[in-house]
């Protein structure tokens, strides 16, 4: 997909579950001893839960651990926006020191969430490496940070909002909304 081909509606979006499978295939060769998965709330954690199922064997083989980050306390827009009403405890139930961390985000956009997540991770210890993976790279980067692995590049306009949602059966879906007027769509992360 190119810049000339910006999707304007949900019907032009790829199927999220198909993307999850693509992402799992790309991720599998990276899993080794001393690797840990870390999802960023909320979408990154949902995505991680799907990857844990799809890559169950490999993960068990290499004893890959996993955790979750809520980067609310590390965001750079806290002074303007304050704390979100709902924040969840970050849970990193393993020693970060010298781990190869796979940081999982749903939709990669400005890079600010990834920066916040990396800052938070370093407060737990010094990882051996961090690899950033995302389901979708939507363009619009504001920091020199980019995911090493993505399942799809979907360039979007700044007025468009792409969000991953989790359905009741645990499967994932992508949802595209446009904000033409002042009304902001309800964003979760």
């Amino acid at each position: 997909m190119t810049d000339q081909n910006i999707p304007l509606s949900n019907t032009q979006l790829p199927n999220a579950e198909a993307l999850v499978i693509t992402l799992a295939q790309k991720l599998e060769p990276l899993l080794q001893n001393n690797t840990a998965l870390v999802g960023i709330h909320s979408g990154g954690v949902w995505l991680m839960q799907r990857l844990l199922v799809l890559l169950e064997k490999t993960i068990a083989n290499y004893d890959v651990e996993h955790g979750a980050l809520d980067v609310s306390f590390y965001r750079d827009d806290y002074a303007q926006r304050g704390l979100k009403a709902e924040n969840r405890p970050s849970q990193i139930p393993f020693d970060v020191e010298n781990k190869h961390i796979i940081l999982i985000d749903d939709v990669f956009y400005t890079g600010r969430t990834a920066r916040a997540a990396m800052n938070e991770l370093f407060d737990y210890g010094r990882p051996a490496s961090i690899t950033l993976i995302a389901l979708v790279n939507r363009g619009g980067r504001e920091l020199p940070i980019a995911p090493q692995i993505v399942a799809a590049d979907i360039p979007l306009e700044a007025t468009q909002h792409l969000q991953l949602t989790q359905l009741t059966d645990g499967s994932l879906a992508l949802e595209l909304t446009s904000q033409n007027n002042s009304a902001r769509p309800q964003e979760h992360e």
Partner: protein, 325 residues
Amino acid sequence: MNNPQLDSDGHLRHLLSIEGLPKRILNQILDTAESFVGVAEREVKKVPLLRGKTVCNLFFENSTRTRTTFEIAAKRLSADVISLNVGTSSQSKGETILDTVDNLIAMHADMFVVRHAQSGAAHLIAKHVPPHIHVINAGDGRHSHPTQGLLDVFTIRKYKPDLHNLRIAIVGDVLHSRVARSEIHALTTLGVPEVRVIAPKTLLPAQVEKLGVHVYHDINAGLKDVDVVMMLRLQNERMNGAMLPSSQEYFKTYGLTQEKLALAKPDAIVMHPGPMNRGVEIDSSVADGKQSVILPQVTYGIAIRMAVMAILAGGQVASGSAGGS
């Protein structure tokens, strides 16, 4: 009347008392504190939320635990903290409270944590400061001690998550206790169905029933089948008449011993806001016993104070994030 604690959008601006705070705000503070508990277990026990902000602890009355936990909380949020023991500073030279506050604002303080022997001191300061400055009441006279009330509820929720199914007893000097008032307001607002107060008539405020509590003068009846026993300190320094025969007599009647505790549910927890008078309101074997959660209360106090400061300094609660990642 306007609630000085909330701004026009209903966001928390100052924390002065639990009275008047909606359930939504109480839950927001408790839920946010949940996220801060884990910070203390990390290698770096700090988050950058209050970087560049200055928090002033204004303690016109002595307190070790409250001042220390506020100080640790602010430092774990990366704020710069100044603790003023005002008794030993300009106040003793005759400066008024508001002059002290104005001077600190001129030094670019962003937040005040106020403890004062006079009820309403924190309100006075909150009414006086410009909009970008936040005030937290760390105890004013007999009136209120909201962060203590919140940390008590937080502790209860940790051990007994279903607040809608609890019987809670508050035992002791309710009359002089700002902690009791804050606890009662928090517990009833959050839907605890049965809050009991157990004390002699001389240590209960008039018309205490109006706060929605059940009154007991007999501790044995009052402790029967409760899930939580919250002991209060016998406030010797606040007592200016002979309200009690003696502290030994008080211990005999209202002091919490293993025998009296056995009347509560077997898994009941015992709390105390500190400082404890061992052998006056609580027996050492209970204070140090396996049902005691007195030290966890202190630990959770830091998380609660971090949550309050983080919510206040954020100025508002965003309904969403910055728009993707």
